[in-house]
C-alpha cells in the first residue's frame, strides 16, 4: 500500500507545484491522476520515487517512509516502481535490448554495468519482456529506429524488468495517436489485471479515464481537488469533468471506439 501524506513540493524558483496533497493507493488499483497542464501531475509522480525531492510530507510505501530512505534503500525502493514517460525516454543510441536491460540496473552490481554486462538470467528476462510487448524481433535495432508506439512498448518492457509492484506512468499516451493510446493502455490494464501490478497514471482524455481508471484523483494548482471511484467517473458528464480538468478537456475518439480495440 502506498500512502501519500501532506506532500508539498516547492521548486527552488519558488513555484509551489504541490500543496499538502494526501491520498492512498491500495495494491492492484488503476489510479488515474487528472488535472490541467501545470497542475502538478508530473511532480506528484516523480515525488513518489523521489526523482524529485519532496519539500514536505511523507510517502509511505508498505510501511517504509520513502522520503527518509538513504541512497542504498532508495535504490531498493525504486526497483518496486517501474516508470514510463510521455516522451518514452529511451536511450536513442543504444539497442532496444540494452534499453530493456537497463531496467535491471537496480538489481545488478554497479561494477558490472561499467562494461554493459548483464547476467544470463537478465538476458532471458529481457527476451521475455520484449515478447510480452511484441517486439522480440526488434531487439537488436537501435531505439531511435522505432516508431513512437513501439518505443513506448520498449518503455513498458524496461519497466517490467524491474519486476515492479507499481507502475508510474506520466501521460504515457499523450504523444501517441488514439489507436496506439488504447494499445498502450491495454498493456497497462493487462499488467494491472493479470499480474496485480498497481498502476498510477496521469491521463488527459475523459474517455480514456472512464475506460481504464479504477479510481481518479484530480489536481488543480497543486492541490487535491477531486477524488472519485470508478462509478463516480462513469457517471461523470463532460461538464463535471471540465470543472476539475479545465477547458482543455476533450474526448479522444467517438464513443463507438471506446473499449473496442486493445491492440494496434
Amino acid at each position: 500500500m502506498l500512502e501519500v501524506q501532506h506532500l508539498t513540493k516547492v521548486y527552488s524558483d519558488g513555484t509551489a507545484a504541490l500543496k499538502d496533497v494526501s491520498f492512498s493507493v491500495q495494491d492492484g488499483e488503476f489510479l488515474v491522476v487528472i488535472g490541467l497542464s501545470g497542475a502538478g501531475k508530473s511532480t506528484l509522480l516523480r515525488c513518489i520515487n523521489r526523482l524529485i525531492e519532496p519539500t514536505e510530507g511523507k510517502i509511505i510505501w508498505n510501511g517504509v517512509d520513502v522520503t527518509k530512505a538513504d541512497s542504498k534503500s532508495l535504490r531498493k525502493i525504486r526497483r518496486d516502481f517501474g516508470m514510463i514517460f510521455q516522451q518514452f525516454n529511451l536511450v536513442q543510441r543504444l539497442s532496444v535490448q540494452m534499453n530493456v536491460l537497463a531496467g535491471r540496473l537496480g538489481y545488478v552490481p554497479p561494477a558490472m554495468s561499467l562494461l554493459y554486462r548483464f547476467n544470463e538470467e537478465d538476458y532471458r528476462m529481457a527476451e521475455e519482456a520484449l515478447r510480452k510487448v511484441g517486439l522480440l524481433e526488434m531487439a537488436y535495432k537501435r531505439a531511435r529506429e522505432l516508431s513512437g508506439g513501439q518505443q513506448q512498448r520498449v518503455g513498458i518492457a524496461r519497466a517490467l524488468m524491474q519486476q515492479p509492484k507499481v507502475i508510474l506512468a506520466d501521460e504515457p499516451v499523450a504523444s501517441l495517436d488514439p489507436v496506439l493510446a488504447h494499445s498502450i493502455l491495454g498493456y497497462l490494464e493487462r499488467l494491472n489485471k493479470e499480474e496485480g501490478i498497481t498502476v498510477i497514471c496521469s491521463l488527459h482524455y475523459l474517455d480514456l479515464v472512464q475506460r481504464y481508471a479504477s479510481r481518479v484523483i484530480g489536481l488543480r494548482g497543486g492541490q487535491l481537488v477531486y477524488e472519485g471511484s470508478r462509478e463516480d467517473i462513469r457517471r461523470m458528464t463532460d461538464a463535471q469533468f471540465k470543472e476539475v480538468y479545465g477547458e482543455e478537456a476533450e474526448r479522444i475518439a467517438p464513443p463507438s471506439l471506446l473499449g473496442g480495440t486493445k491492440d494496434a
Partner: protein, 494 residues
C-alpha cells in the same frame, strides 16, 4: 538661438549640433574630428621630430610627405566644413525632426582614417613593385624545392691560404705540393669589412686569390674561415662567389675580406683567416638529401606530437568536463563552485594560445617535442573540456530520469544515459581537435617545441630556401590530407 548654432560649429565640429539638442550626432562629429586630428598630429610630429612649433611640424611634414600631409589636411578641413553646413541644415529642418545627411560625415571620416591607416602601417606600394624581384628567388625556391631533396656523394678538391688581420707577421706564400691544388693570396694582410658608426658598410681590403692545379673548366667556390673557426661560403651582393677555372686549371679572383664578428678577447695572438677555393664533384648515385630526411623525420615527429597531445587531452578532458557541466554539478553549492572554478580555469587556459604555452613549456622542460606536447595538451584539455562539457549540458534529461527510476546508481546512470548520448559529439570534437593539434604542432616548433616548425625556421634563418620549401610542402600536404580525412571520418561517424 538655433539660427546661430553654426557659430559653435565653426569653433569645433559637433558643438553646434550638441547646442541644438542633436547630442548623439554632435558627439559623433566631435569625437570623430578630435580622434583624427590627434592621430594626424601624431603622424606629422613623427615626420618632423626636430620641430617644436605646430607650424614648423606642418611645414616639415609637407616637405617630407607632401601628398599624405596635404590629403589629411584637406580631409580635416572638409570634415569641419561639413560640420558647419550640417548645423545650418539642421536649423532649417527645425528641432525634433529627423535630420539626414550623416552619410557624408561617415564617408569623409572613413576616408580620413583610411589615409592615416595607410601611413601608420607603412604601406609602400612602389617599393613592393620595385623590389618584387628580390622576393622571386626565395619564392621560386620555396615553390619548387625538389632539387634540394636529392644529393650525391661528392669528391672535394680544395686548397687554402692564410690572411692576417691586424698585428703580426704577415703569412708567407704557401708551398705548392705537386699534384695537389694550390692557392695564394695577395696581399696576405688586411682588414675585414665593417660597419661604420652610421651603419654603412665599409668594404674590407680587396685581396686577389690565385689558384692552380684545379680541375680545368670547372666551377670553383670560394669559402672563408674566420679566426674563431666559423666557415662560410663567400657572398658578393647576396650571391655566392664562384669562378670558372681556365683550361689549365687556373683561376684568379678578387674579393674583399668579408664581414666577420669576432668577440673581443675571443682569440689570443694574431687574427688568422683562411680563404679557400674548392671544387666539388658529385660521384655515385642520387640519394635523398640530409635536409629531406631531416624534414621527413621531423614531420613524423610533428604528427605524433599532435596525436599524443590529442590522446592526452582527451584522457584528461573527459573527467574534467563532467566537473564543468552545469547539469551534472548543480544541486549543491560545492558542486556549483567547482563548476564555476572549472569553467573559469578552462576559459583562461583556452584563451592563451598554444604557442605561448610552448614558450612556457620550453623554459620548463627544455627544447624539443616534449615541450610541444605539453603545450598542445594543456590547450587541448581546456578546449576539449569546454566542448565536452557543453555536449554534456546539451544531453536529453529524459533518459537520465528513466534510468534513475530503475534504481540505478549515479555511475550506472552516467554509463547508460549520459555516455551513450555523448558518443557522437565526443568523437566529432576529438577528431576536430586532432586536426587542430597537428596544424598547431607544425607552428609550435618555431618557438622550440620540436617538430617540423623547428627545422623550418632554422632553414629560413640560414637562407636555405629550398630546404624550407620542402618543409612547407610537407606541411601543406599533411594539413590538406588531414583536413580531408577528419572531415570524412566525422561525416561517417555521425
Amino acid at each position: 538661438m538655433l539660427k546661430f548654432a553654426w557659430i559653435f560649429s565653426i569653433l569645433l565640429p559637433g558643438l553646434g549640433q550638441i547646442v541644438m539638442g542633436q547630442v548623439r550626432r554632435g558627439l559623433f562629429a566631435l569625437t570623430g574630428f578630435l580622434t583624427s586630428l590627434a592621430m594626424a598630429y601624431w603622424r606629422f610630429s613623427l615626420l618632423a621630430p626636430r620641430e617644436t612649433t605646430i607650424l614648423g611640424v606642418l611645414r616639415r611634414s609637407l616637405e617630407r610627405r607632401p601628398s599624405f600631409t596635404f590629403l589629411v589636411l584637406i580631409l580635416l578641413a572638409l570634415f569641419w566644413i561639413l560640420g558647419i553646413l550640417d548645423t545650418i541644415k539642421l536649423a532649417h529642418v527645425g528641432p525634433g525632426r529627423k535630420a539626414r545627411g550623416l552619410i557624408s560625415f561617415f564617408f569623409v571620416l572613413s576616408l580620413l582614417l583610411f589615409v592615416l591607416g595607410w601611413q601608420i602601417s607603412e604601406i609602400d606600394v612602389p617599393r613592393m613593385v620595385k623590389d618584387f624581384n628580390k622576393a622571386m628567388t626565395p619564392l621560386n625556391r620555396v615553390l619548387w624545392p625538389w632539387k634540394a631533396a636529392v644529393t650525391r656523394d661528392t669528391r672535394v678538391l680544395s686548397a687554402r691560404a692564410e690572411i692576417l688581420e691586424g698585428e703580426g707577421n704577415p703569412p708567407g706564400k704557401p708551398v705548392p705540393k705537386p699534384g695537389n691544388p694550390y692557392v695564394y693570396a695577395e696581399p696576405t694582410v688586411g682588414v675585414s669589412s665593417k660597419l661604420d658608426e652610421k651603419g654603412q658598410p665599409v668594404p674590407g681590403t680587396i685581396i686577389t686569390l690565385h689558384g692552380s692545379g684545379f680541375e680545368p673548366n670547372t666551377k670553383t667556390d670560394i669559402w672563408w674561415e674566420d679566426p674563431i673557426g666559423s666557415r662560410f661560403q663567400v657572398r658578393i651582393g647576396g650571391e655566392y662567389l664562384s669562378v670558372q677555372t681556365d683550361p689549365e686549371g687556373k683561376f684568379t679572383v678578387k674579393l674583399p675580406i668579408p664581414y666577420s664578428i669576432i668577440p673581443p678577447g675571443a682569440v689570443k695572438g694574431p687574427l688568422i683567416h683562411y680563404v679557400e677555393a674548392q671544387q666539388v664533384f658529385p660521384i655515385g648515385p642520387l640519394k635523398l638529401s640530409t635536409p629531406f630526411l631531416e624534414i621527413v623525420s621531423r614531420m613524423v615527429e610533428t604528427i605524433v606530437m599532435g596525436l599524443m597531445a590529442t590522446v592526452l587531452g582527451i584522457v584528461f578532458a573527459i573527467p574534467l568536463s563532467f566537473l564543468a557541466a552545469r547539469n551534472i554539478m548543480h544541486g549543491s553549492w560545492i558542486g556549483m563552485s567547482i563548476y564555476y572554478l572549472m569553467r573559469f580555469i578552462m576559459n583562461v587556459v583556452r584563451s592563451i594560445e598554444p604557442i605561448i604555452w610552448a614558450v612556457i613549456a620550453v623554459v620548463w622542460v627544455g627544447l624539443g617535442p616534449f615541450a610541444g606536447v605539453i603545450a598542445l595538451t594543456v590547450h587541448s584539455i581546456a578546449s576539449l573540456g569546454k566542448l565536452y562539457s557543453e555536449a554534456i549540458e546539451g544531453i536529453d534529461h529524459g533518459p537520465i530520469e528513466a534510468v534513475q527510476a530503475t534504481g540505478a546508481t549515479k555511475l550506472q546512470t552516467i554509463m547508460f544515459a549520459v555516455i551513450p548520448q555523448m558518443v557522437s559529439p565526443f568523437i566529432s570534437f576529438s577528431i576536430y581537435r586532432w586536426d587542430i593539434n597537428v596544424r598547431m604542432s607544425t607552428i609550435i616548433g618555431m618557438v622550440g617545441g620540436g617538430g617540423v616548425g623547428f627545422v623550418l625556421l632554422q632553414y629560413v634563418r640560414l637562407l636555405d630556401y629550398q630546404a624550407a620549401g620542402i618543409a612547407v610542402w610537407f606541411i601543406a600536404v599533411t594539413v590538406a590530407v588531414l583536413d580531408y580525412v577528419s572531415a570524412e571520418i566525422r561525416e561517417r561517424m555521425i
